[in-house]
């Protein structure tokens, strides 16, 4: 099958594929734009381009990831997501059946999240000029009037640092799948949309200071970003960080740090210390926060530095993920 030259036949096929799976009133209008009314409050937008290898992996696929990733970026502001748009870049010759699986997965993820994909675009590039499929999604959401400001620069000394669950699942799952390694104990990506968890958290603790999803570079990198942005220090208890035993085992064996592996369905929340227990309880009451934990606190000292308290009172500096980590022990 060829859909390379943008010929009428393949063009129609692709259009039908999108139309049948993503069908909604906006797309049905058949305009090159989507018109909608904005509810009161501040609008939030985010865009993310998604590439993943392999495209289908345990616990998810590119389609679901493209929806979750952008929805989460919108939701980390405290916004309720409203709509998504999607742009596809397809490599000539990419199997339509696989494309259909991706689009169906996107549709399901969007439906589960309660949003619609209201505009889309597809481009086909020559064979060898792409890696299967790339998906760029844009999300728009609204922060209800009167909401407290949630921002990466808002962490205060004394604040508690929480995470919503185990670290490193997505990164470990992707690596094992990409390299088709023999590992009996299934490790699944945690790919999930977090706005419902966040809405639930904000209902109970409205004055959360920061929310962020520890995606690329993992918890280590994201905490460093927040520490730098807020100009504060952070002290994290290593033993408090939930890590699934099979993820810990793979990491230990391969010499990898689970704290630098990506997550796609977890968040970091920073809140005033007196709210920490309440927030923890709220998170644990939600299915996406069952394994939530308080992992540390924000400090005034050592601004910009994230410290990991290890056994026997050791304090290791938790670094940003290096590009290609090389051993440092001489």
């Amino acid at each position: 099958m060829s859909h390379g030259s943008g010929g009428r036949a393949s063009h129609t096929l692709i259009r039908e594929l999108f139309a049948s799976h993503l069908d909604n009133p906006y797309l049905r209008q058949n305009n090159d734009n989507a018109r909608f009314d904005a509810p009161p409050g501040s609008l939030v937008m985010s865009v993310d381009s998604h590439v993943v290898s392999p495209i289908f992996f345990p616990g998810g696929d590119l389609g679901a990831l493209a929806v979750h990733g952008t929805l989460n970026d919108v939701a980390m502001s405290g916004a309720v997501p409203l709509h998504l748009t999607a742009g596809f870049i397809l490599e000539e010759g990419y199997p339509l059946a696989d494309l259909e699986r991706i689009v169906m997965s996107m549709a399901r993820a969007a439906k589960d999240a309660g949003v619609e994909i209201i505009a889309g675009d597809t481009k086909v590039v020559e064979r060898g000029h792409g890696d299967g499929v790339f998906i760029t999604t844009t999300g728009i959401g609204v922060i209800p009037p009167g909401s407290a400001r949630i921002s990466g620069d808002a962490a205060q000394p004394g604040d508690a640092i929480l995470i919503s669950g185990s670290m490193g699942d997505h990164g470990a799952a992707i690596m094992l799948a990409r390299e088709s390694m023999d590992f009996d104990h299934a490790i699944q990506s945690d790919s999930a949309a977090l706005h419902d968890l966040i809405a639930h958290m904000l209902r109970i603790v409205p004055n959360i200071h920061c929310l962020r999803d520890p995606t690329r570079g993992g918890l280590a990198t994201t905490l460093n970003e927040l520490a730098e942005q807020s100009n504060v220090g952070m002290v994290i208890e290593e033993s408090a960080i939930p890590i699934q035993p099979q993820v810990a085992a793979v990491c230990e064996l391969l010499g990898l740090d689970p704290l630098t592996l990506a997550n796609e369905g977890k968040l970091i929340a920073i809140c005033p210390p007196d709210q920490a227990q309440t927030l923890l309880k709220a998170m644990r009451a939600h299915p996406l926060g069952e394994n939530a934990a308080i992992i540390g606190e924000v400090t005034e000292a050592d601004a910009g530095m994230v410290q990991l308290v290890t056994g026997f009172g050791g304090r290791r500096i938790l670094d940003w993920l290096a590009g290609t980590p090389l051993p440092r022990i001489c």
Binding site: G313, R315, L326, C330
Partner: protein
């Protein structure tokens, strides 16, 4: 006294004395000999030098000038650098000490901390003296220096002794030029000086005798006591109490790394108690008695009254004589050897602050012996090992740091070198001076990084220089490299093994400036081709090295994890040869997964490190599969080595770049061969590496006719068997072979190497 002959006319000179002449009682000494020889004139400190104007009959004047160097106090290292005849001043009489000229402090030197001198020791033991059993007794010849100085010039108000106003008796001594405590800056006595405080189970006891008695009682009870010394705290316990030592190991935690032991000073030469613990050669004895009072690795006696846990699986024990008066009192009152290990949390710099010790070491210390003289910056104990007939520093510390070296040519602009990752020390160079800091520790920890930063800032401030460029390891992720990048200064990256080679060549630059062939063997460091070097032979000189020798490269499964798990290196070698590998404690599935990752290059960087070959050998022999401290596998392998073994002949061939590459392949089967005793296998391994080194040297020498000096650098050569064996083999084959003397050959000397390398850089 000189008689006054006819020809003995009055003469006058102006002298300029350089060298170690500050903080060592040098001016009072000049004052005394001036009186002795009837010399008139004056002496003063000026910009790190001492200036003297002396006038006397000619023969007396000559004797006086001779005495400056021949009779100098033990700590002084004076050199008369300038001597000018000046006009005789008629009627000049008397000799005076002028106050310091507040000149350019950059010329001054920071004296290291000094062990308690014999005079003070005798005085401390004399019940008739007012400093009888006073734990802070000192004089111009001894006491703390580096660790109490706030800034130069070195005067009491600029030290942490400023908080202790002198009593009348002490002031009289301080101001009397004929007293041995004249201008002894840390001068103290029981009336006006620092005091001990003992803390146990929440109860605090103040007072020197009370504190000492309680501490000794706690030690007798088998407790672990955190004791504040000169450059930081130690964790101290009874070296013969297996329970206490086991507890210390469990809770520090420090499961296997050897613990230093401090025997009391006994017998005519003070070493009687040390001799009960170790077989001391005259070189060991001399190193132990050195004023630096370092930890010296000494051959352990089979019948030593030490419990098994002190240096498990090793043939040597680290001994250190008491150095401060407090340590003398403790060991003397306790009456037997004490374990004396740095009070820190693994890899961090030694703790110095009273409150911080109580909070951070609460899990291990069962009592505390504090004092109230603040420590301005940490100085851990130095560690030396006797290799090739001389003590070689493995770690610079209290008493020997900052180490100062003279450069053969001035630096274009002040330069800071930030050193390596794990056992960091930094260096500063300006003018013709190079300063190497004491051991700092792991800058990958918060305290390590802060200590690194303050040491960098304080050394610059103390010497009055400001770095205008920074030399750093080429590895992008070393903590100190990241720090360097955040500074607003030009950077000079230096490849790890070129720094090791430059440290060796730079240290001996004054006596030899030709080309070197240097074997830089260590763990892993970033090499010019992007792989991890560690078994390189480099030809040339600082700034112009060419890789001429190496080892067959292999991929390291798990990267840094291999440094703590020697079995990983063993697996890598087996898998490289398509041989199976199994190890107890790991399932076949786990090893299969690791092997897949290794094949696919997931966290499996390529290396040629000899340190990892040692790890592999120790694992294949079954000596050490898992290491709890850096270098444990190689150390344990060396300890069981049968020195009389014959080598295997390893293939040696040029690779595509013309580098001579030794192939370790034949060693794999030999190491795993259970038909041979471990001692024989270890012996074969050492002998084979020595033979391979010699073969590389000879191959390179054949390619490059002409005189070549050979040097050995990098942490692998801390292995005495290997290092001495290689030197002997090289010398036997006609090479002039060397190993570092003053700069540690391991990563503790890296910063000095970075300086020498940067000096030759066009970027400076």
């Amino acid at each position: 006294m000189q008689g006054r002959g006819v020809a003995d006319a009055l003469a006058a000179v102006s002298l300029r004395v350089i060298g170690r002449v500050q903080g060592v009682g040098f001016r009072p000494f000049i004052y005394r000999i001036a009186h002795q020889y009837g010399v008139a004139g004056w002496v003063r400190n000026a910009a790190g030098r001492v200036e003297i104007v002396a006038q006397a009959p000619e023969t007396a004047l000559t004797a006086f000038i001779d005495a400056i160097t021949t009779q100098a106090p033990p700590l002084a290292r004076p050199t008369v650098a300038g001597r000018e005849t000046i006009d005789v001043e008629i009627g000049l009489s008397g000799f005076v000490i002028h106050h310091s000229a507040e000149g350019d402090p950059a010329e001054a030197g920071i004296p290291p901390d000094q062990f308690c001198c014999d005079d003070c020791l005798a005085e401390m033991r004399d019940p008739n003296q007012r400093r009888f059993r006073y734990p802070f007794i000192n004089c111009t010849q001894c006491g703390p220096r580096y660790t109490i100085i706030d800034h130069l010039p070195y005067d009491r108000p600029h030290t942490s002794m400023a908080a202790f106003p002198l009593c009348d008796d002490c002031r009289a001594e301080y101001e009397n030029p004929l007293d041995r405590r004249f201008h002894a800056q840390p001068l103290a006595c029981p009336t006006c000086g620092p005091q001990l405080t003992f803390m146990q189970d929440g109860v605090r006891l103040n007072g020197n005798e009370t504190g000492l008695r309680a501490a000794v009682a706690a030690l007798r009870d088998g407790r672990i006591v955190a004791v504040k010394g000169i450059g930081g705290y130690h964790l101290i316990c009874d070296a013969a109490n297996a329970g206490a030592v086991a507890r210390l190991r469990d809770l520090k935690p420090r499961p296997h790394k050897p613990l230093a032991v401090m025997p009391p000073l006994r017998g005519a030469d003070g070493l009687a108690a040390a001799r009960a613990l170790a077989e001391l050669t005259p070189v060991h004895a001399e190193a132990l008695r050195d004023p630096l009072r370092p930890v010296v690795l000494c051959p352990k006696r089979a019948d030593a009254p030490l419990c098994e846990g002190i240096a498990q699986g090793l043939g040597e024990v680290g001994l250190m004589l008491p150095y401060s008066p407090l340590h003398h009192l403790l060991t003397q009152d306790f009456g037997a050897a004490l374990v004396c290990t740095s009070a820190n949390i693994s890899g961090e710099p030694v703790l110095t602050d009273n409150a911080e010790v109580e909070t951070r070491l609460a899990h291990v210390a069962q009592a505390y012996l504090h004092h109230n003289r603040p420590i301005r910056r940490p100085a851990d104990d130095g560690v030396f090992r006797i290799i090739d007939g001389a003590p070689r520093p493995l770690r610079l510390g209290r008493g020997c740091a900052p180490l100062e070296l003279r450069l053969t040519q001035p630096v274009a602009r002040p330069l800071l070198a930030v050193g390596g990752q794990m056992k960091n020390a930094l260096a500063l160079a300006w003018g013709e001076r190079l300063i190497l800091s004491p051991h700092i520790g792991d800058p990958g920890t918060q305290r390590g990084m802060r200590t690194f930063e303050t040491t960098a800032a304080q050394l610059q401030q103390l010497y009055g220089v400001r770095a205008e460029a920074i030399a750093h390891d080429a590895h992008p992720d070393y903590s100190v490299t990241q720090w360097a990048r955040a500074q607003d200064l030009p950077l000079i990256p230096v490849y790890h093994h070129e720094a090791h080679a430059a440290a060796m060549a730079g240290e001996l630059a004054a006596e030899y400036d030709g080309d070197w062939l240097i074997f830089a063997w260590d763990g892993v460091g970033l090499g010019r081709d992007g792989t991890l070097w560690g078994g390189e032979a480099l030809l040339g000189r600082p700034g112009a090295w060419k890789r001429v020798g190496s080892w067959r490269p292999f991929a390291l499964p798990g990267g840094d994890a291999a440094a703590r798990q020697p079995w990983r290196s063993a697996a890598a070698l087996c898998w490289s040869l398509q041989q199976p590998f199994a190890t107890p404690g790991l399932s076949r599935e786990a090893l299969q997964l690791l092997k897949q990752a290794w094949e696919r290059g997931i966290n499996a960087p390529v290396t040629s490190a000899v340190g990892r070959l040692f790890d592999a050998a120790s694992a294949l022999c079954g000596v050490c599969l898992e290491a709890s401290f850096e270098g444990q596998g190689p150390m344990m392998l060396e300890a069981v080595c049968d020195a009389a073994s014959a080598p295997l002949d390893l293939p040696l061939a040029r690779n595509a770049e013309g580098v001579w590459v030794s192939d370790w392949a034949p060693l794999v089967a030999a190491m795993a061969d259970a038909d041979h005793a471990i001692a024989a296998r270890s012996g074969l391994f050492h002998a084979t590496l020595i033979a391979a080194l010699l073969a590389q040297a000879q191959a390179v020498a054949a390619d490059h006719p002409g005189a070549l000096r050979v040097g050995l650098g990098g942490g692998v050569f801390q292995n005495r068997m290997l290092c001495e064996g290689a030197l002997t083999a090289l010398r036997g084959a006609g090479f002039d072979a060397h190993v570092g003397r003053e700069i540690p050959m391991n990563d503790a000397g890296l910063a000095a190497g970075q300086i020498f390398e940067a000096l030759a850089s066009p970027r400076l």
